[in-house]
Symmetry: C2
């Protein structure tokens, strides 16, 4: 059966997250419903990573199979038509090989976390960034973040509900940059643990406020205990930026296990 | 009476524009109501420029008088408190001299117009940019825009309902830059005519599509006829960026007339 890869953007605000579930509309379900309207068959969509309620995506990737081949651009346009008015947009559809798997073929994921550092409430960025009223020292945050780069046991930086078999992961890159009132965290890794980016953002927030030093972050990592690190930052600041395939981007061995974002 | 200057951000999507009117909630009215809740008196707020329904602001400026002086930061925080949950944020409040006037003391305004040039629907930028599906040549748009810089009769580039006495205006600066799928128009002038930026954006859109050459834009300007230029681009792409006071930024003589954006 012909397989297609989708690149997907969404405003996570109106969904219960990526994964199909009972308590509300998920992004996965909305797209599966659109595929069914297009091809007339119930179809399963496989995503590169699960995003939580309120988390956005600029470049989520997913794949599905069709019984009969169709033009990729036709698929893109038809799905966008059937998705209306949901805040989900199919940026691209392309045919891929049978052995392509959105989740297991991925070699690197990138996440962006946006902080708006100001006292006044958000308007245009409401639901699209984490507002922090206390002045944050982004240089200290950038310095502290470097302790998390490399291969580590990230037990302190994953949700206690995380279902991944192992907390040992490689973080390829973290940068913290400020432009005016906006601070952007960019993180790249072969895969992420549940709430990992949000706990890193919350913990770096403490460093930015001066409550913690960069050394405290190293100690929190070494503690291998969720209660040793900072709070989980809100989902609305988080964006799944892109997913890389092909070139092996990290040092992590693929297991096909229960890795979860 | 002590006078205060406000710097204001808003998502224009939920308002009938800046100016108080009968058919719905305006930004001016929402802030005037908040001022009344703060000081207990009906108060008039004077804005630097009127924005239409759906037009956003990142740095609108306005002024008002209080019967008794108050701490500027207290005013900012109190107004933000009373404005909730409206998508209006007071970024700053500051005391100013009695002769400061948000509209008549302004020497330059800057507007941003955002175009997202892609076929797929918008999600996070819905209501925050003009989506154009046809590929646009931003270099041609940038070239064409230069014909509009300087002192001109902008009759072709103002609404037929514009109430300004004269269409002769100076445009200090227009730049057109692209980053990925986003094209940004930045315009600076001592003052703007009604719909001027949106008609410029719509006309440059024709150039971007290849329907018009840069020379056609010069000819449209010379025609001094609204029907000679392009369409009015939608309001959701437009942002009042900032208002400059003090240094005289342009060559235009201040008249205090009925200039309108």
């Amino acid at each position: 059966m012909p397989r297609y890869k989708l690149t997907i953007e969404y405003d996570g605000g109106g969904f219960v997250g990526w994964q199909r579930q009972e308590n509300g509309l998920s992004v996965q379900q909305a797209i599966e419903d659109a595929i069914e309207k297009f091809c007339g068959r119930e179809t399963t969509l496989f995503g590169a990573g699960r995003t939580d309620t309120g988390v956005h995506a600029l470049g989520q990737v997913a794949h599905f199979d069709l019984a009969e081949a169709a033009e990729a651009d036709t698929i893109r346009d038809a799905l966008n038509f059937h998705l209306r008015p949901a805040a989900i947009s199919i940026l691209a559809a392309e045919p891929v090989d049978d052995d392509f798997h959105a989740r297991f073929s991925a070699t690197q994921r990138a996440y962006l976390f946006r902080i708006i550092n100001r006292r006044s409430p958000l308007t245009l960025d409401k639901g699209r960034a984490w507002q922090v009223g206390t002045p944050l020292d982004s240089d200290a945050m950038a310095e502290a973040a470097q302790a998390l780069v490399g291969f580590h046991d990230f037990t302190s930086f994953r949700s206690v509900h995380c279902q991944a078999e192992s907390a040992e992961k490689t973080m390829n890159h973290i940068s913290v940059t400020r432009e005016g009132e906006e601070i952007r965290l960019l993180l790249q890794a072969p895969s992420f643990l549940h709430n990992q980016v949000r706990i890193i953002a919350g913990t770096l927030g403490w460093v930015g406020e001066g409550k913690w030093t960069p050394k405290d972050v190293s100690q929190a990592l070494a503690a291998c205990d969720r209660t040793a690190s900072g709070p989980t930052a809100p989902p609305e600041g988080l964006y799944l930026l892109d997913v890389v395939y092909g070139k092996k981007a990290g040092g992590e061995k693929k297991k096909g296990g229960k890795k979860k974002k």
